[in-house]
Every structure is written in C-alpha cells, then in structure tokens.
C-alpha cells in the first residue's frame, strides 16, 4: 500500500500535489489504479455565524497529529483493501478559498475507493487533532467546537 501524508504550513495546490503523487508512483513502477476517488476541502468565505471570514487558523498537536493521521489512514485503507492513499492537510493561517484538505484513494474498484475516501475524511475530521479558529474581518475570532454537518 502506497501512503503519503503531509502537513503544509503554507498553501498547497491540490492538483499539483495529485500530479506529483501520480508521477512519483509511476517513477516507482506503480501503475495508476483503475479507480481513484478524491476529495478536496477549501475554506469557506463565510464564518459559522454568517459573518465574512478573513482567515481560518488551523492548530494541530505536533507529533500526535501526524501519527494519528497515519493510524487512521492505515486502518481505513486496510479495511477497504485499497492500493494508495494521499492525505495533504493545511496547518496555520489559511485564507478563504485555499485548500485545507486533500484525500485521494486509489483502488481496483470504484466502491472501495469511494467508501475509503469518505470514511477517511470523516475519520480525520473527528479523530485527528486539528482545531479551527475563525478570524472575522473585524478582528474578532472564535474557536470552532465541531465540524460542519455532512
């Protein structure tokens, strides 16, 4: 199973990360999977209370966040029997419109690819130590205490 997990403290471009992942696998002699499911999450321009959002601050637990992402990814990928898993996650100050998270799963069939991608996204939203703080245009801020609904 091919696994790559990265935390980015500056903005990353999901399509560039995907292209690099694909290239690196091909250089390693690994063919593209027959089915690939991808999810990209970006920062909304609107805060939870409806105000304009300037910046989303993403705090993490250095050391644990990386380990926990790897545990969650390995567990999910093993359960679904997939071939490859790429997770890219932002930390730090993220501007509206920028990508926060990318999950890409390669598998032999579309079912496992799609299910694994969905489940891993939920797992990392609920079980990886990240905390979001919304900074509004007026300089005020608030820590979020939960995820957006599905």
């Amino acid at each position: 199973m091919q696994l790559r997990i990265n935390l980015h403290s500056t903005s990353f471009e999901p399509l560039v990360a995907l292209a690099r992942w694909q290239e690196d696998q091909q250089h390693g002699g690994i063919a593209n999977s027959a089915a690939e499911a991808v999810f990209v999450g970006r920062v909304r321009g609107v805060a939870a209370d409806g105000c304009e959002l300037e910046v989303l601050e993403l705090e993490h637990y250095p050391g644990m966040t990386e380990q926990q992402l790897e545990r969650l990814a390995l567990d999910c990928c093993q359960r679904h029997g997939v071939n490859s898993c790429l997770v890219q996650h932002r930390i730090g100050r993220v501007l509206a419109g920028e990508a926060i998270v990318l999950v890409a799963i390669g598998a032999d069939r579309r079912g496992p690819a799609q299910r694994c991608c969905q489940e891993l996204l939920e797992a990392l939203k609920h079980d990886a130590p990240f905390w979001k703080r919304e900074w509004r245009a007026d300089g005020s801020s608030e820590w979020l205490t939960g995820n957006t609904p599905l």
């Binding site: 990392l124 609920h126 905390w131």
Partner: protein, 87 residues
C-alpha cells in the same frame, strides 16, 4: 540513567482550552518509584482546568487517545484536547 525530565509528566493544552486556562504546557512531578499513581482525571482536577473533562475533552497519553483514568508513568506526555474540528 533517565532523561532529564523523565521524572516528570509533561502536560499540554490546545486551542480554546489553552486560552481559557492561560497556559500551554506544564511539567508535573511524578513519583519516580511509581508508588502513588496519578491519572489524567486527577491532574485535571488538581490543575483546576475549566470545563467538563468527560463531555468536552479527550485525553492523549504519549500522543495516543487514552482513558482519563489510565495511570500515568514518569516521562509521559499528557495532552488535554478540546473538541476537534479538522478537515
């Protein structure tokens, strides 16, 4: 020989919990003989941390989620994690 801080328990707070408590990290002396065991729940009370441990906070020991009643060992890293919102 133990590492310099191996006799202590390192306690970490995050995000809103860190700001409410007013600190990010503390070292707590541990019993080197392990004669008296200390749990995250006991430390939560002794440190007078804000909020409801069982309902609002998750405990991590050495960077793994753990039960609040797990006995701590000298050198352990204990994290109190407020509600997570990643992805």
């Amino acid at each position: 020989m133990a590492a310099p801080c191996a006799q202590e328990i390192r306690i970490l707070l995050f995000a809103g919990l860190r700001e409410q408590a007013g600190w990010a990290e503390q070292q707590w002396p541990a019993d080197p003989n392990g004669a008296s065991t200390l749990t995250p729940r006991q430390l939560w009370s002794m440190l007078q941390l804000p909020g409801d441990l069982d309902r609002q906070v998750r405990v991590a020991i050495n960077r793994q989620f753990a039960d609040a009643d797990t006995p701590l060992k000298p050198g352990d890293e204990l994290g109190f994690l407020p509600p997570i919102s990643g992805g």
